[in-house]
């Protein structure tokens, strides 16, 4: 039987001996290899690559010659051309935009209160990328649409942004035979027919499925009422530089204590130490440990014994307030019993009342509205002027009328993360899903630092802990959407490989990962891999993605000099320090 010759065409190429192409998932172009006879030159760089056999034809428009080589063998001199499918163009272009911005409580900024609406579905994000890639005919309907992945594209290559989005949601970018781009779910696609196959093989290649998949959130944020103690600067010695000590332990503490010092002059302190006293006594207050961290569950319950576990603290609370139309964390607040120097003898309050919540913040007398800075790294609150308390009974209405100076009883309400007391590992919320696999595989962890669990206590009027508010429900819901996507990769599937005679127009999809066409003097074949990749078809998808990501990282590094990086970081609204009172 005479088998018709398989043909391939590319503008400017003559004497084609054979040709093959393997279409693979992803944003990198597949390469066709053309073996041709020697010819004067190959003048065309870009054109449509066509395969033809027995009346069937498949075309790959907009292909580009990648490179050529030649060799001399038993058949004489042959040339080989490598031609890339039209995805070669996807290395170029840009996309910019920040979407699905998460507020300080991890909720989405969706345009409430006249703010910018950043919420975009995954399908909308994919469409943005595809349009930036120059695509007009695409299908993103398979992309799971529940998650709201945060993206910050700043002159990103759109194809790379799309691939990253698809990776996150368990999908692949697929260039179909009809020249249409589709986003397909990994593992979901058409079945292969074995009836007409020249070869058909089912393989045993179960996915390396972990026993569990877990989304690991960013470091959890706890709002804590940190009790503060008055500390002062001690003189430097040979053994130690300037150090902080509780004020009663300072070497220069007056013999009669601090009760009769003439704040702010401290003339009761020796002249050589007076400047240190003026700089620090009743101005430096340090977080006192142990401290209870509501909502934290450590080795000792919610108790944290060491300062290192909570440093650096934040200059904000977990509690929210509307700022510029959108919810943002309140600045850290200091409250407590202190003498407001109103030429009376009463302190700010008679008891350590809780700091006010949003709404009545200005009405609370215990709220300390004096200038201060928070030394987050050392857990210090440093006031611009001495803050002290009247310890005389007249402060609470008893007889007499005078002020006897003592350290203020202050509380800093601020957020912090917590580290494990032994390993110093940061406490993170982990949302785990059991896969059902019990082969002893460990858990696969997916880092999602943009998701942050928060815990914020509420108190009664007598300062008893009432409840701990949390955004755990919202965080879990978002984490679940990521888990759904990740779990797609571990569907139980039987890898298959089939080879058909002729050119069979089988579309690649989420399950069919490779479609390979070969034409030559012996005819034409179509080879397909489902839940599998052809060994000599192309680099494995994961390897291609690794290379793509590496290339993108290198490009980004080249684009961003250290100076530009610093400038960008400084100007980013996400890195700007928030102003405090």
């Amino acid at each position: 039987m005479n088998v018709p010759q398989g043909m391939a065409f590319f503008p400017g190429v003559n004497q084609l001996i054979d040709a093959s192409i393997t279409l693979a998932h992803g944003i990198s172009p597949s390469a066709a290899t053309l073996t041709i006879g020697p010819q004067a030159n190959v003048t065309t760089e870009i054109g449509t690559l066509g395969f033809e056999f027995g009346g069937a034809s498949i075309e790959f428009p907009d292909c580009k010659v990648d490179y050529g080589s030649f060799e001399r063998n038993g058949n004489g001199e042959v040339w080989r051309l490598s031609i890339l499918d039209r995805r070669w163009r996807w290395r170029f272009g840009q996309i910019s935009g920040t979407y699905n911005v998460r507020r300080d409580d991890s909720s989405l900024q969706g345009g409430e209160n006249d703010t910018i609406d950043t919420e975009r579905t995954p399908q909308e994000l994919a469409a943005l990328c595809l349009r930036a890639m120059g695509e007009t005919n695409f299908d993103v309907s398979d992309l799971p649409n529940e998650a709201r992945p945060s993206v910050e594209w700043d002159y990103e290559v759109p194809a790379e942004a799309l691939a990253a989005l698809c990776d996150e949601l368990g999908c692949r970018v697929v260039l179909q035979l009809d020249n249409r781009v589709a986003i397909r779910r990994v593992g979901v696609g058409a079945a292969l027919s074995s009836a007409a196959a020249l070869e058909f093989a089912s393989l045993v290649n179960p996915a390396e499925c972990p026993d569990a998949i877990a989304v690991v959130c960013g470091p959890s944020r706890f709002q804590v009422d940190f009790p503060l103690e008055a500390v002062g600067l001690a003189e430097a010695t040979e053994d130690s530089p300037e150090t902080l000590l509780p004020i009663d332990e300072l070497p220069y503490a007056p013999s009669g204590g601090w009760s009769r010092v003439d704040v702010p002059y401290f003339h009761q302190v020796d002249a050589q130490s007076r400047e240190l006293a003026r700089r620090s006594v009743f101005k430096y207050y340090r977080i006192k440990v142990p401290v209870e961290v509501p909502g934290y569950g450590g080795l000792d319950g919610n108790r944290v014994d060491r300062l290192e576990q909570i440093l650096p603290i934040e200059a904000e609370q977990v509690a929210l307030a509307v700022e510029n139309g959108q919810k943002a964390n309140l600045s850290a607040a200091v409250f407590g019993m202190w003498y407001p120097e109103t030429l009376d003898v009463a302190n700010s309050t008679e008891s350590l009342a809780p700091a006010p919540t949003e709404g009545d913040i200005l009405s609370a007398s215990s709220l300390l509205q004096r200038p201060y800075t928070i030394d987050a790294a050392r857990g210090l609150v440093i006031f611009g002027e001495p803050i002290y308390r009247n310890t005389h009974p007249s402060a609470t209405g008893s007889s007499g009328y005078e002020v006897v100076v003592g350290p203020a009883e202050l509380v800093l309400r601020a957020a912090c993360s917590v580290r494990h007391p032994e390993t110093m590992a940061l406490e993170r919320h982990v949302r785990t899903r059991i896969t059902g696999n019990s082969s002893g595989g460990a858990t696969r962890y997916l880092r999602h630092d943009e998701l942050v669990l928060t815990r914020s206590p509420t108190y009664s009027n007598d300062y008893a802990l009432v409840d701990v508010d949390t955004n755990e429900e919202d965080v879990n819901a978002t984490a679940d959407s990521f888990l759904d996507a990740a779990q797609q990769e571990y569907q139980i599937a039987v890898p298959q490989k089939a080879r058909y005679g002729g050119l069979v127009p089988i579309q690649p999809d989420g399950a069919i990962e490779h479609v390979s066409f070969h034409v030559g003097a012996a005819g034409a074949t179509t080879t397909v891999a489902r839940h599998n990749e052809l060994p000599r078809g192309a680099l494995p998808y994961k390897e291609r993605r690794r290379i793509e990501r590496q290339r993108e990282a290198t490009d980004a590094k080249t684009r961003t000099s250290s100076r530009n990086l610093a400038r960008a970081s400084k100007s980013s609204p996400y890195t700007q320090p928030r102003l405090r009172a």
Binding site: D262, Y339, E402
Partner: protein
């Protein structure tokens, strides 16, 4: 100097040293006695107001200050200040009183009261102002200025008790200065003002810018002549004793005969007469 913030007002705090044998109570009134420099720091030295009227006062801060110890005081602004008794009301003048740390009503005013801050502990709220005036009675005649040298005399401080002016208790004195050309008689209640660090009598007498005089010679229009000052109760006036004479100008259009009663008026340091009888 540091500042305290009260009701939006920044109050300057001045360091001082208590040089009195008693502790200064919170918000007590202190008299500034001088200055002391220790370790390069200038302290006001403060004491309890005494029987010699001081000129500069301050108010202690909210803490007691033990003898020979240092504290902070206020020297201006709206303050809390301890008072001794009564019911301070807005606009009243309250001032330091000898041998006590508290203000007393009617004493030379350094505080214009706004009202009571704490009645149980006798703390008023008021504006601290410099001591600018005092009422006094010279123990003996306060001589007139002579050759540019003012007359001086010990003056007993008098205070307003709400009805009349009475001698301060305990007796408090100060040195009064007379810059006028008229003698201030002993026993005459005289206002004094603080000028160049001196207590200067306001004019020379109770009617110091107008006097009853009698011409001693014919006083032609446009001429200046010596006239004798008369004083005493109405209807029983007599020539002043010792005799006080003025050189007065007749700027009227008429000649005034000798021995006629006239009203002498001082304008810009010059005396002018106008006849009551011609």
């Amino acid at each position: 100097m540091s500042a305290a913030s009260t009701s939006g007002q920044a109050l300057a705090k001045f360091p001082f040293k208590n040089i009195h044998s008693q502790k200064v109570p919170a918000f007590g009134v202190v008299e500034i006695a001088g200055v002391l420099v220790e370790d390069g720091v200038a302290f006001l030295t403060c004491t309890r107001p005494g029987t010699t009227l001081g000129t500069e006062f301050a108010v202690n801060g909210p803490s007691q200050v033990q003898p020979d110890e240092k504290g902070i005081c206020y020297r201006q602004g709206d303050l809390s200040v301890a008072y001794d008794s009564g019911n301070p009301q807005a606009g009243q003048g309250w001032g330091p009183r000898a041998n006590q740390w508290t203000l007393s009503k009617g004493y030379p005013s350094i505080i214009t009261a706004h009202g009571i801050r704490n009645q149980a502990n006798k703390i008023l709220h008021g504006a601290l102002v410099p001591l600018a005036g005092a009422l006094g009675v010279a123990a003996a005649n306060l001589p007139a200025i002579s050759g540019g040298q003012p007359g001086t005399q010990t003056v007993t401080l008098h205070v307003w008790d709400g009805t009349s002016c009475v001698a301060a208790t305990p007796t408090t004195t100060f040195t009064g200065y007379n810059m006028s050309t008229s003698v201030i008689e002993a026993g005459r209640l005289t206002p004094f003002v603080r000028e160049n660090g001196l207590w200067v009598a306001v004019a020379g007498g109770s009617d110091s810018n107008q006097k009853l005089v009698k011409t001693t010679t014919s006083h032609a229009s446009g001429a200046a002549e010596l006239v004798n000052v008369w004083d005493g109760t109405p209807g029983s006036e007599a020539e002043s004793n010792p005799l006080e004479e003025l050189e007065a100008m007749n700027r009227t259009s008429v000649d005034i005969d000798a021995d006629k009663f006239c009203l002498a008026t001082r304008i810009g340091g010059n005396w002018y007469i106008e006849p009551w009888e011609c």
